[in-house]
C-alpha cells in the first residue's frame, strides 16, 4: 500500500476539501485570490423545469463556473454542488459546464491555452429534467473529447456523493483523475444495482463492500483513476497542479481499446473479486501527496 493512504499525525489538522462547498472548492483549486465566478447566483439563471414540479430552485442551479489561474496559467473550473439536488445534472447546471468547456476549447483553438478542471460530485442526470439532463451530459462529453486534444482535462472526485451515472463517463474521458479515499466512481450507484439486480448481486448498505468495489483507493490501484490524495485542500491543489505539469498522457484511458479488451479477456467473471482483478488491472497510482515519492 502506498504511503498516500496513511493518515499522518498532522493530517487531522489540515483543511478538509470534502467539507468545502463547490464555490470554496473552486477557489481552493485556483491560485489564491484569482477566482472570478461566471454566471453566479446574481445572474439568476435557474432551472425552468423544477418550479413546474413544485421544487425550489437554486440561483446557480448547483454548478459553479470560475475563471482564474493555476500556476499562473489561465484556467477554468467547473464545480458541482452536491448540496443542491445531490449534484444532479439539469439543463442549466449541465449547460454551464458544457459551455465553459466549449469556450475553453474555442480559446485553445485560437492558441490561448486554458486549463480545465472539473470537480465532480454528482449522482448523474437530474431525473426531473430527464432527457435534457442526458442531452447536456452528451454535450459535456463531446466537449471533453474535443478539448483534451489541446490540453489535459483534469477531474477531481473528492466525495462524499461521488460520481455516478452519465457523469461517470465524463469523468472517464478526463485526461487525469484525482480521487480521495472517500470518493467513489461508478456508473450505476449501489442502490440502483441492488434494485435492478437484487441484493444477492450487491448489498448497498454494506459500505465496506461498496468502497472496496468503487472507492478511490481501488480505482487508483486498478488504473481507473490516476492520483489518490488525502482529504486535504493542499493535496488536491498539489495533485491538480502536478497533473498539468505532467502534460498530456501518452494515450487516454478511454482510447486504450485493444489493451483493455485483452485485459478483460483474462478475467473470469465467475470468480473475479476487487482483490484478484488488481493482478490484471495493475496500476501504480501517482504519488501526488506533495512529497517526493
Amino acid at each position: 500500500m502506498s504511503s498516500t493512504n496513511q493518515v499522518g499525525p498532522g493530517a487531522l489538522l489540515r483543511e478538509s476539501f470534502i467539507e468545502l462547498s463547490a464555490r470554496e472548492r473552486a477557489a481552493a483549486v485556483l491560485d489564491a485570490g484569482t477566482l472570478r465566478e461566471l454566471l453566479g447566483p446574481f445572474d439568476r439563471i435557474e432551472s425552468p423545469w423544477l418550479p413546474l414540479q413544485g421544487i425550489v430552485c437554486q440561483a446557480d442551479d448547483g454548478a459553479v463556473i470560475a475563471r482564474g489561474t493555476i500556476d499562473g496559467q489561465p484556467a477554468v473550473v467547473a464545480a458541482i454542488e452536491s448540496a443542491f439536488q445531490g449534484g444532479s445534472i439539469g439543463e442549466v447546471s449541465g449547460s454551464k459546464i458544457a459551455a465553459a468547456l466549449e469556450l475553453a476549447l474555442a480559446d485553445c483553438e485560437r492558441g490561448k491555452i486554458v486549463r480545465p478542471v472539473i470537480l465532480f460530485e454528482t449522482g448523474g442526470v437530474r431525473l426531473q429534467e430527464a432527457n435534457l439532463g442526458l442531452a447536456v451530459i452528451a454535450e459535456i462529453q463531446s466537449a471533453i473529447v474535443a478539448l483534451r486534444a489541446h490540453v489535459p482535462v483534469v477531474g477531481v472526485i473528492a466525495g462524499m456523493v461521488g460520481c455516478f451515472g452519465g457523469m461517470s463517463l465524463a469523468a472517464a474521458l478526463c485526461s487525469m483523475l484525482v480521487m480521495t479515499k472517500q470518493g467513489r466512481l461508478g456508473m450505476n450507484g449501489p442502490e440502483v444495482i441492488e434494485q435492478e439486480a437484487g441484493i444477492e448481486e450487491l448489498d448497498s448498505s454494506d459500505r465496506r463492500q461498496v468502497w472496496q468495489l468503487i472507492g478511490g483507493e481501488q480505482r487508483t490501484q486498478t488504473g481507473f483513476a490516476d492520483a489518490l490524495v488525502d482529504d486535504a485542500v493542499d493535496d488536491v491543489r498539489t495533485a491538480v497542479r502536478a497533473a498539468f505539469a505532467q502534460g498530456m498522457p501518452h494515450s487516454h484511458r478511454s482510447a486504450n481499446v485493444d489493451a483493455t479488451l485483452a485485459r478483460l479477456a483474462q478475467i473470469d467473471p465467475a470468480s473475479v473479486t476487487p482483490e484478484s482483478m488488481r493482478a490484471v488491472f495493475a496500476a501504480s497510482p501517482t504519488n501526488l501527496h506533495g512529497e517526493t515519492a
Partner: protein
C-alpha cells in the same frame, strides 16, 4: 441469423446492409449508403455472453469496448485514404448492464470508450448518424448514438428515449407510472415519447409509417434514403452537437441552454 438472438437492432442491421454481420454482442457490417460505403453498427442480444448481466441488448463491459473498436477500426482504415466513411449507429439498447462485476471492471469506462470513439469519429470528419429503432435508454444511448451528428427515429411502438426506465424512475421519484406519463405530457423532458424528444430539438427526423419489426422493402429503402440525406447534411455541417441548439424547437424548449451559452460567452473574458 440465429432466430433466438434476433432483435430489432439486428433485423435492421441485416435489412440495411443485406450481408452477414461480424461480431456477437456488437455486430457491424459495411454496406452501400447513397453513393458511398457506410459502417452500420448495432448492439445485439448475446445469450452466451460470459458476463451474465450483459446477455440482453444492453451495453455491458464487452459491448462498450467493442463498440469503440468497431468505430475506431473504421477511423483507422480511413485515416490514410482521406475519405471518411459514414457511421450509422442502429440504436436498440434497453440500458447499460447493471451488475457488481460491471462496476468493478469499469462499465463507466467501457461506455466512455464508446462515447470517445463516436465523438472522435465525428471530430475526424466521419458523418455519424443514429437511427433509433427501439429503446434508446440512459447510459446505453450515451454510449451508442448520442454523439451522432444527426439523430433519426422510427415512429413506431417501442421506440423511446429516456434517462431511466419507467419503473425505476417511478420508484426513485416516488411517483406511479401513470403519474409519470401525465407529467411527461406537461413537462417535455420527462416524456418517453419520440414526439417529445423531437420538441427538444434533439431529433432530426421522425420516420413515420415504417413497420419497425417487419419492414417491407419499401420501408427499408425509405429509411436508407433518410440516412443518406442525413449523411449529406452532416458532411456540410461543422457545428458538431451545437446543431441541436440551432433548430426552431430548441429556441423554445432549450431557451435556457442557449441563454447560458450566450451569457457565459459574454462573461468569459474579464472586462
Amino acid at each position: 441469423m440465429n432466430y433466438t438472438t434476433t432483435s430489432r437492432g439486428t433485423r435492421w442491421l441485416l435489412a440495411l446492409t443485406g450481408v452477414d454481420a461480424r461480431g456477437a454482442c456488437v455486430q457491424y457490417a459495411d454496406a452501400p449508403l447513397g453513393d458511398e460505403t457506410a459502417r452500420f453498427i448495432t448492439v445485439a442480444p448475446d445469450p452466451a455472453n460470459r458476463f451474465p448481466r450483459a446477455r440482453d441488448n444492453v451495453v455491458g463491459l464487452e459491448q462498450g469496448w467493442l463498440l469503440a473498436k468497431a468505430v475506431r477500426d473504421a477511423i483507422a482504415e480511413d485515416a490514410a485514404s482521406g475519405k471518411r466513411r459514414p457511421i450509422v449507429a442502429i440504436v436498440d439498447v434497453k440500458s447499460q448492464a447493471y451488475g457488481y462485476r460491471e462496476e468493478m471492471l469499469g462499465i463507466h469506462l467501457a461506455c466512455a470508450s464508446a462515447v470517445d470513439a463516436y465523438a472522435s469519429a465525428r471530430l475526424a470528419g466521419h458523418p455519424v448518424v443514429a437511427l433509433i429503432v427501439g429503446p434508446a435508454m440512459s447510459g446505453a444511448f450515451l454510449a451508442h448514438g448520442y454523439q451522432a451528428n444527426r439523430i433519426v427515429a422510427l415512429d413506431a411502438p417501442g421506440t423511446m428515449v429516456h434517462a431511466m426506465g419507467k419503473e425505476a424512475a417511478a420508484r426513485v421519484t416516488r411517483r406511479s407510472v401513470e403519474e409519470l406519463d401525465e407529467l411527461g405530457e406537461k413537462i417535455v423532458p420527462m416524456s418517453y415519447s419520440m414526439a417529445s424528444f423531437a420538441k427538444l430539438g434533439l431529433l432530426d427526423e421522425l420516420i413515420e409509417g415504417v413497420d419497425a419489426d417487419a419492414p417491407s422493402n419499401a420501408h427499408v429503402s425509405r429509411v436508407r434514403d433518410v440516412l443518406a440525406q442525413k449523411v449529406r447534411e452532416a458532411r456540410g455541417d461543422k457545428s458538431g452537437l451545437a446543431h441541436r441548439l440551432q433548430g426552431e424547437s430548441a429556441q423554445r424548449t432549450r431557451a435556457a441552454s442557449i441563454e447560458v451559452r450566450k451569457r457565459l460567452a459574454q462573461q468569459w473574458d474579464a472586462s
